[in-house]
C-alpha cells in the first residue's frame, strides 16, 4: 500500500484546497494517472498517482495541508491514522452532534449507541453526558422549594462565619404551666410559643442579635423583633414571621403561630407572611432530637433551635428526681457578637423558660 500525501507545492501557503478527485474512491488507478486537483493561492495543480492500485480516499474535499495524507493506493486496507471522530461537515453549516474526544472514548468503552447519544438532544456531547448514559442510577430533580432552600443555605454558609452555643433548660415547671396558660388563653401555648416570645423580648438588651451585617464593620439595628419560625407540616419548609413579637402579648403571638400552622397545612402563605424577619427560631420537636444547629438566614445575625424535651434523672433533695430538659441552640454571626454575648443572651432566654412565674406577671 502506498500513502498518497500532498507534496509541498510552493513556499507561500501552509494549506491548500482539495478541489476535486479525478478518480473515484475504490477505483483502480495506474501510476502517473491524474488523480486530484489541488488549488494553491496561485494556481490549481493536478497531482498524479504515485503507484498502481486501488484508490482509497481519505480527504474528499476542502482544506488540506502539505504532507497531509489524503489517500492510499494499493490493496483496499484501512489506513491507520486515528483522526478526530468523524463528523461530516454539513453544507448548510447545521451540525448534528459534536462528540468530544473524552466522550468518544467513553462511548466506545461502554459500547453506547450513537442513537442514545443523539437522544440526549445536545449539540455538544461531553464525557459527563456519556457518563450519565452509562450510569443506570436514576437522576432526580429536587422540587422548586427545596432548590430555593438550597440556595439560601449555601449563601448562608458562604457568607456568614457562624459560631454555635447550646444551653440546657429545665422546663419541668414550665411544662405544667403551659397547660394552664393554654386553657386561659384558649390557644395552644407550648415551649415553642414561649421561646418565640422569650427571644423577641431580648432585643432591648441584646440589639446586635437582631441586626443586619452591612460590611465594613457596620451593622444596621432592627426597629422591631420580627421572629421567623420554621414550620414544616410535610408540605415543605416555611418560615413565617411573627412581627413585633416583643410588643405583643404572649397569647397574640401564640395565636398567630397557630394561624401559621393552619396556613401551612393549606399551603397558602402570602409573601408578606414570610418577609421581614430579623432573627429565626427553628423547631425540632420530633421526639429524640437532642439538639440542632440552625442555619443563620442571610441578613440575620442569629438563629435559635429548640430541640425536643428530654426526661432526665437528676440528683435532688430527696435522692433522685426526674426532670424535663430541653436544649436551646444559638448559631450566631461571629463578626457581630462573641461567645460571651451569646451565652448571656441564651441565659436570659433560658431563665424565662425555666421560671414560669415570670409569664404570669
Amino acid at each position: 500500500m502506498t500513502e498518497f500525501r500532498i507534496p509541498k507545492l510552493n513556499n507561500n501557503d501552509d494549506s491548500y484546497i482539495l478541489v476535486e478527485w479525478l478518480a473515484a474512491d475504490g477505483q483502480e488507478v495506474k501510476q502517473g494517472d491524474p488523480l486530484v486537483v489541488i488549488e494553491t493561492s496561485k494556481t490549481a495543480e493536478e497531482l498524479e498517482s504515485p503507484a498502481d492500485g486501488t484508490l482509497v480516499i481519505r480527504v474528499h474535499s476542502g482544506d488540506c495541508a502539505p504532507g497531509e495524507l489524503i489517500a492510499a493506493i494499493g490493496a483496499a486496507v484501512e489506513v491507520a491514522e486515528p483522526v478526530v471522530p468523524e463528523v461530516p461537515p454539513l453544507e448548510s453549516g447545521e451540525i448534528d452532534v459534536v462528540i468530544t474526544r473524552p466522550a468518544q472514548a467513553l462511548i466506545e468503552r461502554h459500547g453506547i449507541s450513537l442513537d442514545r447519544v443523539r437522544a440526549l438532544g445536545k449539540k455538544v456531547i461531553r464525557a459527563e453526558d456519556v457518563e450519565s448514559l452509562a450510569d443506570p442510577r436514576e437522576v432526580v430533580e429536587l422540587p422548586r422549594a427545596q432548590r430555593q432552600a438550597a440556595d439560601v443555605v449555601v449563601l448562608s454558609h458562604q457568607t456568614i462565619p457562624a459560631a454555635f452555643t447550646v444551653v440546657k433548660a429545665d422546663v419541668t415547671d414550665t411544662a405544667k404551666l403551659t397547660r394552664d396558660l393554654s386553657k386561659h388563653a384558649r390557644t395552644l401555648i407550648g415551649l415553642s410559643e414561649l421561646l418565640v416570645k422569650a427571644v423577641a423580648d431580648q432585643r432591648a438588651e441584646f440589639p446586635h442579635l437582631f441586626a443586619t451585617w452591612l460590611g465594613d464593620g457596620r451593622i444596621r439595628l432592627a426597629e422591631g423583633s420580627h421572629v421567623g419560625v420554621t414550620i414544616d407540616v410535610g408540605k415543605g419548609l416555611f418560615v413565617p414571621v411573627v412581627r413585633d413579637a416583643d410588643v405583643r402579648p404572649l397569647d397574640a403571638v401564640a395565636r398567630e403561630l397557630m394561624d401559621y400552622r393552619m396556613t401551612a397545612l393549606r399551603g397558602s402563605f402570602r409573601e408578606r407572611d414570610l418577609e421581614g424577619a430579623n432573627i429565626a427560631v427553628t423547631l425540632h420537636s420530633e421526639a429524640g432530637v437532642e439538639f440542632a444547629i440552625p442555619i443563620i438566614y442571610p441578613g440575620h445575625v442569629a438563629a435559635l433551635s429548640l430541640a425536643s424535651t428530654q426526661q432526665e434523672v437528676q440528683p435532688g433533695d430527696e435522692g433522685f428526681m426526674v426532670r424535663q430538659t430541653v436544649r436551646i441552640g444559638l448559631a450566631f454571626d461571629h463578626r457581630v457578637v462573641n461567645g460571651r454575648d451569646a451565652a448571656l443572651f441564651l441565659g436570659a432566654v433560658k431563665r424565662l423558660l425555666e421560671e414560669p412565674r415570670r409569664w404570669l406577671e
Binding site: E39, S92, E94, I95, V98, T100, P102, K123, V124, R126
Partner: protein, 323 residues
C-alpha cells in the same frame, strides 16, 4: 474561494459598479497585479483608474485623500503594512482630522489597504501588525479582513461612512479559503459586521479576535472543544475601531470568561482597549479578569523557529483559555 481571490473579485466589482473608485499603490498594475496579487486584472480593465505609484507611501496616501476630498473614492495599497508609518502624518493629521477639524462633517472616502502580519518569514520590517497604532485616532476607522466577511460590503460601508479607514489584511489569510456555514464543529454566522463562530449557544467562554487570527483561533477552539471539553464562542469584528459590541451583546451577556487575542505586540494594544470596554460592560458577571493574548514585546525575527516564538500560535490561545 481563497481570501486573496475574494478580495480581488471584490475590488473588480467595486470598480465596475462605481466609476469614482480609484486605486493607487506600488506595483499594483498588470501584469504584476500587486505584491500579493490582490489587484490583478484591475489596471487592464479600468485603465487610468488604477495607478502604479512611486515608492512614496506618504505621498500616495495624500493623493488618495486629495481624490477623496475632490469627489472621488480612493483605495491606496501600501505594499507592506509596516510602511504605514510613512503615511502616518497623512492618515492621522490630514485624512482623519479633516473629517471634523473644519467645524463640519467633511467626507474623506479613503481606504488604505495594509497587507499585514508575520508567519511568512519576511523578517522584522515586513511582518509587524500595526493595528494598535491606529486605535483611537479621531476620525479614523480601523478594519481587518476576515474569511467570514464580504470585503466588497466592507469597502462600500467604509466609503459610505465618509470616514477614512485603514484596512488590515493578514498575509497568511490571503491563502486561506473564505468561510461560511460551518466547519463540522462550529456554525459561522455573520451579523452586523461580526462573525459569530460557535458550537453551542451561550458558552461560558468567549474569544474576541481580529480576522487575521481566524485560522489559529479555530484550531484552538477545536482542541478546546474536542480535547478539553471547553466550548468557546469566537467573535470576529470586521471593524476593530470604533468597536460596537451591541450586535453581539447576547453572546457577551452569557459569557463568564472573556479572552481577547491579537497579533500586535504587547503593550498599549487593541486588545487592551477591548478589555477595558468589556470590563465596564461585564463587570460583576465575569468570574475572572479578561485574558489577553498577544505577540510578545518583540520584533518579528526571520528564521521560522524564532518567528514562531514571536507570533501568536493556536497553543497560546488554547492555553490562555484553558487555565
Amino acid at each position: 474561494m481563497r481570501v486573496a481571490e475574494h478580495l480581488n473579485r471584490s475590488l473588480h466589482t467595486l470598480m465596475e459598479n462605481d466609476p469614482s473608485v480609484h486605486l493607487l499603490g506600488e506595483d499594483v498594475s498588470d501584469p504584476y497585479g500587486g505584491a500579493f496579487k490582490i489587484t490583478k486584472g484591475l489596471s487592464d480593465r479600468f485603465g487610468p483608474r488604477v495607478m502604479s505609484t512611486p515608492l512614496s507611501e506618504g505621498g500616495i496616501v495624500g493623493v488618495g485623500a486629495g481624490l477623496a476630498l475632490a469627489g472621488d473614492r480612493a483605495i491606496v495599497e501600501i505594499m507592506f503594512g509596516d510602511f504605514a508609518t510613512l503615511a502616518f502624518d497623512q492618515l492621522v493629521n490630514f485624512a482623519a482630522k479633516s473629517t471634523t477639524m473644519y467645524g463640519r462633517r467633511v467626507d474623506v472616502p479613503l481606504i488604505v489597504r495594509l497587507p499585514t502580519g508575520g508567519r511568512r518569514g519576511y523578517g522584522p520590517t515586513h511582518s509587524q501588525s500595526l493595528q494598535k497604532h491606529f486605535i483611537g485616532v479621531p476620525g479614523l476607522s480601523v478594519y481587518e479582513m476576515s474569511p467570514f466577511h464580504d470585503a466588497g460590503r466592507l469597502f462600500t460601508e467604509i466609503f459610505d461612512s465618509g470616514r477614512p479607514a485603514v484596512f488590515f489584511e493578514d498575509k497568511v489569510l490571503y491563502t486561506k479559503p473564505m468561510l461560511s456555514g460551518g466547519d463540522g464543529l462550529h456554525t459561522f454566522e455573520v451579523r452586523d459586521g461580526w462573525a459569530v463562530i460557535r458550537a453551542e449557544r451561550d458558552t461560558e467562554h468567549v474569544l474576541l479576535a481580529p480576522g487575521g487570527l481566524t485560522d489559529r483561533a479555530l484550531a484552538a477552539l477545536r482542541d478546546l472543544l474536542l480535547e478539553d471539553e471547553i466550548a468557546c464562542t469566537l467573535l470576529v469584528p470586521a471593524r476593530l475601531h470604533p468597536l460596537d459590541v451591541t450586535p453581539v451583546a447576547d453572546v457577551l451577556a452569557a459569557a463568564r470568561r472573556v479572552h481577547v487575542a491579537e497579533d500586535g505586540t504587547a503593550g498599549g494594544t487593541w486588545g487592551a482597549e477591548v478589555a477595558r470596554l468589556l470590563h465596564e460592560r461585564l463587570w460583576g458577571r465575569l468570574t475572572a479578569p479578561i485574558t489577553h493574548i498577544s505577540a510578545p514585546d518583540s520584533i518579528i525575527p526571520t528564521a521560522a523557529h524564532l518567528e514562531a516564538r514571536c507570533t501568536v500560535q493556536p497553543a497560546d490561545i488554547r492555553r490562555a483559555i484553558n487555565t
